[in-house]
Symmetry: C2
Subunit: 505 residues, 2 copies
């Protein structure tokens, strides 16, 4: 027995727990300030919040943490650490080294820059003035390029960013997946557009009582697997999911009188995130492993529930009568089949967050390719409006009439979130692969949905995905759950099959 | 310039800010877990909460804090510290020395004991079984007696407990105030009971729609001075006020269909606490001075608003028509004058929290005298039921038929909160003294209320009480605001005048 290692492991576990407790509190604070805090108190509270965030950060990159990680990452330690401890060391190591490499001055400067950039972006989007945003965007790109040189990478500089959101993923692995998805989606889109069949999507162009919407959403949420005693549903302008701990997961939605789909599919989407976290094994509480495996895996859970389940025929076979009861004037005379096709209508549009299931990925491809080239220095920030519009035209067949509905629409770059966008399409890819596997393991999958039995789905997801938290890397997890690495064929086939039927191709 | 002092002051200010930020966060967490957190997450979150609480405590009693306080409390430091810095040092010193003196083992043991005692108290109250609670109560009394010997005191051991809730207060100062209040209240109660006039309190013995109650409460809250953009109103079984910061003050109330008074006066009471904190000078944010001056001063603000304002004739001259609109069936035919007398009906009863404005203080006297004698070793815990009932009979003329409605009714002793009860009556005493002064400074005081103009009241309170936070000790503050030390005559005269008129004595 090596006493030094055992003692280091004890100290590490304690320190990891303290940081994780602080992060759990920071999660609650973030939710509170976004959802519930009175307006005038927020700027004051930001200081208290900052004090705790700084404290958690300092502990994560402390000398003590460095020493413990160095002992626990050594060859001799291997025999003393179980898988759980190894995963904790892996995750803490990653954060420690990433954060330590960037000098404190640079971090501080970047924090000021992104705060200004966010204001500039808001202004620019509102006034359709890309030039207002450009100087900040240029500086952010510069910073990211510098940071990447410090982090290091093997092949493509963008790998360093991918790794932050999807550990282990590289451009080399991702490019063929995304190219296949992009080409097949564009091609499918063209066939859909030349189909003579048009779903009756105009049924959504009328008011739907917000109170009735609320009632319907609150009705379906527990039925699809979200535990209301281990979570909450609130309202915000931008819906999100926030975990406090695995038995306190809070999601939000928004109700628009003129867009009944927004709340329904928004709620199901966030429920997918929420159910994931509600089913993480409680033994990971108070450790770095207490969260989902990655952004992509998380997104796979929200999109699986929203699209593969929530936009399926079988889902609405069960729920449509109840929806009709809530909206007899709007839907009383509409057949289930027509409703199903209407909620799956495909229509190229400018705004990513309003896109349908098929064109959504094309929006991501525009962003992915721009980010990759920008980070590699192949293009510059000033060229983005033109490149954006050209790619939109190439992939979706439409050209934004201004930058507000084009390159300025997303907040992500203003806070330096390069590398984030791919997660959304990764989520779709993972989700389709999971759907394929779950249908093999549970052949009655869609029959269960039709009978309103979601337990069989949630049990499979809990067993194969949810329970593990951050124990496995995304790649390990997907191989363990589905038997193979990420493969774009499943999503391509799923989309082909689904839309061929809907659009009678 | 003494560099060591200047540098110590800087470090102290930083450390004080960090602890205060953590306390602000702990305030929010406490509110969240009581009001809004999903059931299943709470026991998990308690650990994260405990980690932060421990961290804040450790910083407060750290070696660094000790050294800084020792420098900043020295004679040489005096010229370098302004009043604000001196007040911060005073408060941190108090906490530091109080906490440091009790050995860590003893604190830990007490924490286990009170947790068990609380369970035992709940059981005992439910089953009317004092013996179930007694062994824990005895141990708590033992602990308190020991702790007091460690803290030290000049005259009466109870002084050490009073000092915790009302800094600087002693039995020697308090006894004559409370004796005067008790004797005059008992005497006034006897006269009221022999009066032939009886208010029409039976109008409250009928259902009042909870929805209408909510609407009425939300209507009056901002009008009486509570800033809804710097606070919230929620519902809990036990109403309370919780400050996050001076622009985020959250109060709760409860609505009982069969007790319309409960929500109205509960809301006004908590609003009094809330408005106090909303008006503390923001310069005290992020320091130990960011809260109210003491428990007694805080209670003076809630009781001033609840009783002196909210139970006044003029208040209801303004609001009664609106209340009648909300409850036409119940109050449509009741004259304002009868309503006013009904909300001020005096009726001795067993439960403190349901007592009227006059008999409330007699409930406190029972507790104060018992606590004082218990702490001094003049009586023992086992004797409490008999002593309690005898005193209830002596002061209120009624004897509880069992211990659940007698000695077991309050939670306070189960967590060791000896010394807390006097704050309630101190609040009433301060409130009456403030009322006397405010009427001298603002002769149109009650006329303003009658016109629904609460700004004149809130401005006076802000100017003379609220803004100072914890800058002054309670005694300094009351002298500064009213020109003299606490004097029981004002409350005695106020009660005499009010009830003489109501009961036509």
């Amino acid at each position: 027995m090596n006493q030094a290692i055992i003692s280091a492991l004890e100290k590490f576990t304690e320190l990891d727990e303290k940081i994780s407790h602080f992060n759990s509190i920071l999660g609650l604070l973030s939710w509170d300030q976004k959802v519930i805090a009175p307006k005038k108190g927020r700027s004051i509270f930001a200081k208290a919040n900052g004090t705790l965030r700084t404290e958690a950060f300092k502990l994560s990159v402390s000398e003590e943490m460095g020493e413990l990680l160095s002992i626990l990452s050594s060859k001799e330690s291997e025999d003393y650490l179980d898988d759980e401890a190894k995963a904790k060391v892996r995750e803490r190591n990653k954060f420690y080294h990433r954060s330590k490499r960037i000098p404190a001055d640079m971090i501080k400067e970047f924090s000021v820059l992104t705060s200004q950039a966010n204001d500039a972006w808001e202004d620019a989007k509102e006034t359709n003035d890309f030039e207002r945003y450009l100087p900040y965007l240029e500086k952010i790109v510069d910073f990211k390029r510098k940071a990447i040189e410090i982090y290091g990478y093997e092949n493509h500089p963008y790998d360093a960013l991918l790794d932050e959101f999807e550990p282990g993923l590289t451009v080399e692995k991702l490019d063929p997946l995304f190219v296949k998805l992009r080409e097949s989606s564009s091609e499918l889109l063209r066939r859909i557009q030349s189909s003579s069949y048009k779903p009756a999507a105009e049924i959504f162009d009328q008011p739907y009582s917000v109170n009735q919407q609320k009632e319907f959403n609150r009705y379906i949420l527990p039925l699809i697997g979200f535990d209301m005693e281990a979570g909450r549903l609130d309202e915000t302008v931008h819906p999100f999911a926030q975990t406090v701990n695995t038995r306190d997961v809070r999601i939000t939605t928004r109700y628009l009188e003129n867009n009944v789909r927004s709340a329904i599919f928004g709620t199901i989407h966030e429920a997918g995130h929420g159910i994931y976290e509600q089913n993480i094994d409680p033994k990971f509480e108070g450790s770095v492993l207490q969260e989902g495996a990655s952004f992509g895996i998380h997104e796979s859970q929200s999109r699986f529930l929203e699209n593969m389940v929530g936009r399926s025929e079988q889902f609405w076979k069960y729920f449509y009568p109840k929806l009709q009861e809530h909206f007899p004037d709007q839907l009383g005379n509409l057949e289930l089949d027509e409703f199903y096709r209407a909620i799956n209508a495909v229509q190229p549009s400018f705004i990513r967050v309003e896109a349908d299931e098929l064109t959504y990925n094309l929006h991501i491809m525009v962003r992915y390719e721009i980010e990759k080239a920008l980070i590699a220095g192949e293009i510059e920030a000033k060229d983005l409006p033109g490149i954006w519009n050209a790619k939109m035209n190439e992939y979706l067949g439409i050209t934004p009439s201004n930058n507000s509905e084009g390159v300025l629409q997303d907040i992500h770059w203003s806070f330096g979130g390069f590398g984030y966008f791919p997660s959304y399409s990764l989520g779709n890819l993972y989700a389709a692969q999971i759907l394929h596997k779950i249908q093999q393991d549970v052949p009655e999958f869609y029959d269960s949905i039709e009978q309103g039995n979601f337990a069989v789905i949630q049990n499979w997801l809990k067993e194969n995905i949810h329970q593990y938290g951050m124990l496995y890397t995304p790649n390990e997890l997907v191989v363990k759950a589905t038997g193979e690495e990420l493969n774009a064929d499943y999503l391509v086939q799923y989309l082909e099959k689904k839309y061929s039927k809907i659009y009678k191709l």
